[in-house]
């Protein structure tokens, strides 16, 4: 496991940030930042880029105040350093049209709430394998 990967978890609800960060920590990821809304996420993404240490993986809710998950996604995809960064939408908006919209906008995967800890662990494992975020 590449513990040095940097992860950003974005959700306006602490409960979901807790579930995700707990699951990530159980996978050995320790470098995790949180954002409580879309604008905070955009600021953190931009600051990390300026500091030369961009995030390697983003988990983001859809329905948030200040800026939505889609706006955060769009921001990432126009930034050269984040254009290919794995971006996972984590949301209660589960209808197929929402999933399609997220994928067309550039999301790499989609996690639907509610998710059991076991299913979340499997999903994270798949994402880490797919994007080669494990140790070389």
């Amino acid at each position: 496991m590449n513990k040095a990967i940097r992860v950003l978890v974005v959700d306006d609800f602490e409960m979901m940030r807790f579930v995700l960060t707990k699951a990530l920590k159980e996978m050995g990821v320790t470098n995790i930042d949180e954002a409580e809304h879309g604008k905070m996420a955009i600021d953190k993404l931009a600051d990390a880029d300026i500091a030369g240490n961009p995030y390697d993986l983003v988990f983001c809710d859809w329905n948030m105040p200040e800026a939505t998950g889609m706006e955060v996604l769009q921001f990432c995809r126009v930034m050269p350093c984040y254009s290919k960064t794995p971006f996972i939408m984590v949301t209660a908006e589960a209808e197929s049209q929402n999933v399609i919209q997220a994928i067309k906008t550039g999301a790499n995967d989609y996690i639907v709430k509610p998710v059991t800890p076991e299913d979340l662990a499997k999903k994270l494992d798949k994402i880490f394998s797919k994007f080669k975020l494990l140790a070389a």
Binding site: F13, M15, F18, V19, N63, A92, E93, K113, T116
Partner: protein
């Protein structure tokens, strides 16, 4: 025009969504034990999550109400640390629960063509708070039981007048 959904059908979908969400997130069963028309004015619980259910032809509310001890005990188990008061973590968790439950119910209802819109939940704190002061339609209250105690879920949906149809 979206399909019209009866109040009982909304309550059924919400009831299923409540148990599914509790099972997934907390590994706790939340089973509906009663369902009646709500004729009172004030909610008896201490904290409620509220979300607007809105479609072209109808609008209403979904309200999930918890007594303080029950929600604190449930979230103490979830977070692995004790909660004894309705602090921001507890209150926001109520909001998220409401958000997730609505999402689960909405997905099923929308797959049937009812086109309910997205909504951000609100939270009201305080014993015997008012929620339905401006709603004139029928309100259903469902009582749920869990190993941590009971809580209530309210649903209401009223057809819009022709002049009020959403765009």
């Amino acid at each position: 025009m979206t399909k019209i959904l009866e109040a009982a059908a909304v309550a059924d979908q919400v009831s299923s969504a409540v148990n599914e969400t509790f099972q997934s997130m907390f590994k706790v069963s939340a089973l509906e034990s009663s369902r009646i028309k709500f004729l009172d004015n004030k909610l008896k619980a201490d904290v409620s999550g509220i979300v607007t259910m809105s479609q072209e032809s109808a609008a209403g509310l979904l309200v999930i109400s918890f007594p303080k001890k029950m929600i604190c005990d449930l979230l103490s188990k979830f977070y692995g640390k004790p909660f004894t008061n309705l602090d921001s973590t507890v209150n926001m968790s109520v909001g998220e629960l409401t958000n997730v439950i609505y999402g689960v119910a909405k997905k099923v209802m929308n797959e049937e063509g009812h086109a309910f819109g997205m909504a951000i939940p609100s939270i009201i704190v305080g014993n015997q708070h008012f929620v339905f002061a401006h709603f004139s339609g029928e309100i259903t209250v469902m009582e749920f039981s869990t190993e941590f105690g009971g809580f209530q879920v309210y649903t209401c949906l009223k057809q819009r007048a022709a002049t009020q149809r959403a765009a």
